[in-house]
């Protein structure tokens, strides 16, 4: 039974990867054609890769021939002159047109940003809280997470003290893993309970977003957990919880580290400074690790896709033959990324739990 299930999973995974690569091939073809249309002529792997891992004002789905299909997303701007302005990103026509006094910069330092032309002719960047591709994907994943876990929660309410069933039995081992392998050993048997909701939320948020990022077709494939703003907010919460829950003992360790010779504290407060920096470096490392790992995975996969087109430009048949090797590497990388998706969620949660554990540790 189990082996059969595994086989089915592998087949589904392989199919997904085929679709994934097919999607990218189509997408990159359009990039190419776009490039040709705007006069560049050549396939640019840099803009191709960063176009996929970066953010944008519309959600690009597929290109068929010359026609690009994408979902327009709402642009929300706060302008000093005009107040709140909301309009669909389709108004920009992929940067070819401007709307009112706003245009999408396609060149230079502010490439990809919305520029407002003020009445005196000067150009500024308005305060921008648009629902971009990343945020739309974030909302999608949030809705997905809420549906999944509220369902699971209701299942536990409805059938108390009974063996788990369906989605429950899929997620219960993971929930128990977070509780028994992450929270309990790091925070301690007595104090772990109040941190469980945060740790579980962080774990599943990262894990599910990581995996959604691996799905090549809409609405997946968006680099949400590889976005530094997203990881920054996650790390910020870890930092905040640590700081709020930190007890006397924790702060004493930072400002008056016990067991350290006095000349390291006075007159130059070397240890307190180092420890204080440590408070901030811990969440910053969390932020960068998650961002870098997920983004790197996306870049590698996209890099292998780019190879096909780079060789294809030299000679179409060279492109075809390279595609065989590339796709094999892409399959391998995607499987690896599936593992990384879990490991990064685990590492982020585990380190958060360790920091919480330090914050609430009693004097020993």
């Amino acid at each position: 039974m189990l082996r059969e299930g595994r086989l089915i999973k592998v087949i589904i995974g392989a199919l997904a990867i085929v679709v994934f690569t097919a999607n990218f091939i189509l997408a990159s073809e359009s990039e190419e054609s776009h490039g040709e249309a705007s006069g560049h002529g050549k396939f640019d792997p840099g803009s191709f890769i960063f176009g996929h891992i970066g953010d944008s004002y519309d959600w690009h789905i597929i290109d068929i021939g010359q026609k690009s299909i994408s979902i327009p997303l709402p642009v929300i701007l706060f302008s000093k002159e005009k107040g709140i302005i909301i309009f669909w990103s389709s108004r920009f026509k992929h940067g070819h047109a401007s709307y009112k006094d706003f245009r999408l910069e396609t060149e230079g330092e502010n490439k990809g940003k919305i520029i407002e032309t003020l009445s005196d002719g000067s150009e500024v960047i308005p305060f921008d809280i648009s629902i971009t591709k990343n945020i739309a994907a974030l909302f999608f994943s949030i809705i997905l997470i809420l549906i999944i876990f509220i369902n699971v929660g209701n299942a536990y309410k409805k059938r108390p003290d009974q063996p788990p069933r369906g989605l429950q039995s899929l997620l219960e081992p993971v929930i128990l893993f977070v509780r028994d392998e992450i929270a309990k050993p790091s925070i301690g048997e007595k104090k772990y309970e109040s941190f469980m909701p945060f740790l579980l939320t962080v774990f599943f948020f990262i894990w599910i977003n990581n995996m959604l990022g691996l799905i090549p077709i809409f609405p997946g494939g968006v680099n949400v957990t590889g976005n530094i703003a997203v990881t920054m907010v996650l790390a910020f919460f870890t930092f905040t919880v640590t700081a709020i829950r930190g007890n006397k003992n924790y702060w004493k360790h930072i400002f008056n580290t016990p067991g350290v010779p006095i000349w390291l504290k006075l007159p130059l407060p070397i240890m307190p400074v180092v420890e204080t920096i440590g408070i901030f470096t811990k969440p910053i490392v969390l932020m960068i690790r998650l961002f870098a790992n997920i983004t790197a995975g996306h870049i590698i996969v996209l890099g292998f896709v780019s190879l096909i087109f780079l060789f294809g430009e030299i000679q179409p048949f060279l492109g075809y033959s390279v595609s065989v090797v590339s796709i094999m590497f892409i399959i391998f990388m995607t499987l690896l990324e599936l593992l990384v998706a879990f490991i990064q969620a685990y590492v982020f949660t585990f380190l958060s739990a360790l920091y919480f554990g330090m914050a609430v540790e009693d004097h020993h």
Binding site: F127, I142, L146, Y156, I175, L200, T201, V233
Partner: protein, 164 residues
Amino acid sequence: MGLLMPHTGTVIWMLIGFLAVFFLLKKFAWKPVLNALKHREESIENALRAADAAKQDMERLHIDNERIIAEAKQERDRIFKEARDLKETIVLDAKEQAISEAEKLIETARSNIKSEKNAAIKEIREYAVQLSVHIAEKLLQEKLAGDKEQKELIDKLLRDIKTN
């Protein structure tokens, strides 16, 4: 949009989104899930403990049973032994009693015989006296004939007595 520069809009939406997920999941998912898991674990633990206790009870009962059986066997043996002893003593007693009874009977018989004998002797004596008197009477009445005849008569009488 720079890859390494966090975009303010994204930060704001992420803050709102994550907080919403956190609070909604905390209320509607993690609380029931964690409570249910804890409750289930507790009930399993209780059930295991109860099973353990029942097993121990069973063992104790088993030991008790064995003890009771052993005690019963001992009791039985004791009763048998007692019965055997009792039987022996009863038999012994009976024997003794019988012997003493017999002795008593013999004794009484003996004394009876003795007294009977004495009585008989006494009677014989009386009878002998009577007889003597009777003989003497007869002798006195037969004084008629000579001495010789008297002697013969006396002898004959005496012989008669003796044979009697």
